[in-house]
Symmetry: C2
Subunit: 536 residues, 2 copies
């Protein structure tokens, strides 16, 4: 069963290896975990629902607890402390677009605010209710999780919007296809959520972001149904698909999603390489993507991340041997790891590997085979469980991400890292910080920074530490040509920073669209557009 | 100098080869050209300008004639007959974004309608003024035609929006780059026009459509300036870039465009192949794109287009020998030609060619080398001159284009072709029709149909013939899952058909955006949204 107060399945957890704990102890000191609340404590605190009864709407306390929070760090602290804040007044589970439409109408009749809910994996506060005078109805698409149609000529599959990653890939695999969309949240996030939040998967270099995979579908809005037809490309005016992508529940409920699928590739492999320093690693990754080498993934860790990953990998003897080999080949202290995905026909993979080797050599990279890549691929979706393992030792981990042009990658990375590293210096607390570039484009790339700090003596002060780090770094990102989010969306946490990026007129354009689809402003208020923006 | 009444440069023209004329004569009968008007006749008819004087605005008759019409078939007939309809009251030529903004304000002060003008190559009535009680000011971006900045790390170039294709590529080439955007209108169309109309180039398979190339830029709107920052990818809400793409002058004047450029490729070649029939050719093209063979172009002519192209090629002896060779190899009557572009590093080209050969063989294709491909590449931008050559013989040529999913390509092509072929049967007139698929996507492709018919006894009846064919076929396209335009935009000619594709809410969303940027509805009225849509 799914954890009510953290990530993933109750019956799965990661262990922090002993040398990993020692590594963190050495970097930021030893720590003490805070006490976790029990489910019973929390359900006892859930207030009476303000919604009238409806046969598709559950109002029991546990259901409302389980749909009150996402997976952001404040969500985590809320769930662990038991101090949840606001609960939805009920959760609806429509099983078809027609039912979803009916429930949307019912919500309007009873004057409820509506929060569309996919997998509940938001790390930016998309699905948390704010305090309100009117009841809040969360509509979960979770029961709309089936492959509804597949077109073998056009390679288009139609899914219920609530289909989560593993169920989507399993249903496609039977038919011989993959979507190839693998965000870190893959285990729980849904295809409708991917569209609503403009998600990006680990192999976007081959398959594209969800913007490229989303071919059309259906949206139930307060103004009626919007059917987006599947057309491969068009010059017929602004693209309605692109208005719905990133709409974060503000324009309607996405109920059906048509996606562009790919036959299961003949071959796939993941390779690791090491570079003597950051400059070589970053240059090599830029050269790979700007030369259009057809890889499915390139992920480059900076020296801090490389060191941390090797420390946390366990297998001390093996890692020791690897490091001696790398040092002998010129990649010693300061070395940076690159993981590369190669996917396609046998011919395509062979040719991509040939090009890869050619470019890597020019940048003094050392090829270390597929062993570590296989490990990475096997564990790729278990990373979110690491928060629990660290939490149990008294550490808090969160990530910040952005994207910027290549000419700005180093500058922005440095600013983000040093702001985080020094962010708690006032309290005399160290923060452990490291970064990788993952999603690569000819123009630039994403920057994904992880930071670890110790819990304070209580929940409030722990949240305050996070707030200090998050807000100041978010400001640095948007003030330095970064997007407030490359792959996590806006939600409520990033909404105050959006206007810097979109500009005044850009914000007005988004507001005009939300206003058109939802004149009553009943859908997901406070998400995407902060409340101040809405009234301006 | 540019022709005032047709396509391109006055000093260049194409000849119809003798066997080409015989071919058309045999298909649709011999024809007689209509009389062309002289420039002096037309300028004499230009009414007094209704605009007050402004030092950046020209109001002389010839300038107004030269900016009154685009390159649609109705535009052609208007220019040839001398019966232009409405002229703009003046044409402004700003030389900077600031000047463009000033002129936009001035237009508002004097109550003028504004038509943004790039290369004047619209084939859908984007830049033609409608009759109006208020003066019409056309703002040409033609003097903003320079490379303003180039970022060698991020591969982003900034251009004045009025930079036409050849000048854009020439300025990039000096720096070692190409944009790779080659629409048929390349000789005259501009980068701002490409963005405004969601253009697609012949090698979009490698470089992407303008949607993928447009990284950001500047828009001067009645509500102020919108700066779109260059961010490689983002999940921060709906993408403002995508609202401007296809805005067709309704939201503002695009004054600066930042594009994603590519280093000039090491190699490029164009190859031709022949398939025994349509089924084989279409299947092969679908297999190529769905297998992700990294080609830069795939263009497949149906049997009608293949026959016509070979007839119009001249070189009878050579073509005869080719056809005997092809027949011997199994591609006789009904054969279909494919032209393939291979672009990239030496390694990439070699590998792509290997995959091409493998797939083509499975579909019984016959490879005929690069001779015809080289000819095609050399003449690729001269095709629009063919309208003149046919006109001089009394024939009218126009094209219709759409895109649809692979499962619908044959059905829609058949419906479009047979509707055109029989469209003038009531008058006892034959129409010569042929088609190619050019822009290929894993999901589907574009369908590009050319039709040739004879001029009637006068201009009005010739236009009536066109109207009959165009309107009924446009209806068929949108009623059968095609987009009203894959690469020509909406303009005024396609506006009545747009609502079928966008749906009621989609249209309202576009209207809401236009209304937000241009509350006075002063920009390009009747384009994109027909006047009926606007008042609804």
């Amino acid at each position: 069963m799914r954890r009510w107060n953290g990530w993933g399945d109750e019956h799965f957890s990661l262990e922090l290896p002993a040398n990993g704990a020692a590594f963190l102890n050495e970097r930021i000191g030893s720590a003490r975990p805070l006490r976790d609340a029990e489910l019973e404590e929390v359900t006892a605190r859930v207030p009476e629902s303000r919604l009238p009864p409806h046969d598709r709407v559950l109002t029991d306390a546990e259901t409302r607890v389980r749909h009150a929070r996402g997976q952001s760090l404040p969500d985590w602290l809320a769930m662990r402390s038991g101090d949840f804040g606001v609960f939805p007044d009920g959760v609806a589970f429509p099983e078809s677009s027609d039912e979803a439409r009916d429930i949307l109408h019912w919500a309007e009749e009873v004057g409820a605010i509506v929060i569309p809910y996919g997998g509940g994996t938001s790390v930016a506060g998309h699905i948390n209710p704010d305090p309100s005078d009117t009841p809040v109805l969360t509509i979960s698409l979770g029961r709309m999780n089936r492959l509804l149609d597949i077109d073998h000529e056009s390679h288009i599959a139609t899914f219920g919007a609530g289909t989560p990653g593993p169920l989507l890939e399993a249903q496609l695999k039977v038919e011989g296809y993959t979507l190839g969309h693998f965000p870190q949240s893959f285990e729980l996030s849904t295809v409708g959520g991917w569209v609503a939040s403009r998600s990006s998967g680990q192999q976007s270099l081959r398959y594209g972001r969800i913007e490229q995979l989303f071919a059309g579908g259906r949206l139930e809005t307060p103004r009626g149904t919007l059917e987006i037809p599947t057309i491969p490309a068009s010059s017929a005016g602004p693209d309605v698909r692109e208005m719905i992508l990133g709409s974060e529940g503000r324009m309607g409920l996405i109920t059906e999603v048509k996606v562009r699928v790919t036959p299961v590739p003949e071959r796939e492999s993941f390779h690791t390489l090491f570079f003597p320093d950051w400059n070589a690693a970053r240059s090599a990754s830029r050269a790979l993507v700007q030369s259009r080498v057809p890889l499915s993934m390139v992920r480059v860790s900076n020296a801090g991340e490389t060191e941390t990953q090797l420390a946390l990998a366990g297998h001390e003897a093996l890692i020791g041997a690897l490091e001696r080999f790398l040092a002998w080949r010129g990649a010693g202290a300061g070395k940076c790891m690159m993981t590369v995905g190669v996917t396609g026909t046998r011919r395509q993979c062979r040719s991509a590997l040939r090009e890869l080797r050619h470019i890597v050599k020019r940048h003094h990279g050392v090829y270390t085979g597929t062993y570590m890549g296989r490990q990475w691929a096997r564990k790729r979706f278990t990373m979110p469980y690491l928060r629990q393992a660290l939490w149990d030792r008294g550490y808090v981990v969160d990530t910040l991400e952005t994207a910027t042009d290549w000419d700005n990658v180093d500058t922005l990375t440095d600013k983000v890292e040093s702001n985080l590293r020094d962010g708690l210096a006032g309290e005399g607390e160290a923060v452990h910080v490291f970064t990788h570039l993952s999603h690569l484009y000819t123009q630039g790339c994403s920057i994904y920074t992880t930071y670890v700090f110790r819990t304070a003596d209580d929940y409030d002060r722990t949240l305050a530490r996070w707030r200090t780090l998050k807000d100041s770094t978010s400001r640095i990102i948007v003030d330095n040509r970064g997007t407030i989010s490359h792959q996590h969306g806006v939600g409520k946490d990033h909404a105050p920073f959006l206007p810097v990026e979109k500009g005044e007129l850009g914000m007005e354009a988004i507001r005009a669209l939300c206003q058109m689809f939802d004149p009553g402003q009943r859908l997901n208020p406070g998400t995407l557009l902060s409340r101040e923006d809405e009234t301006s």
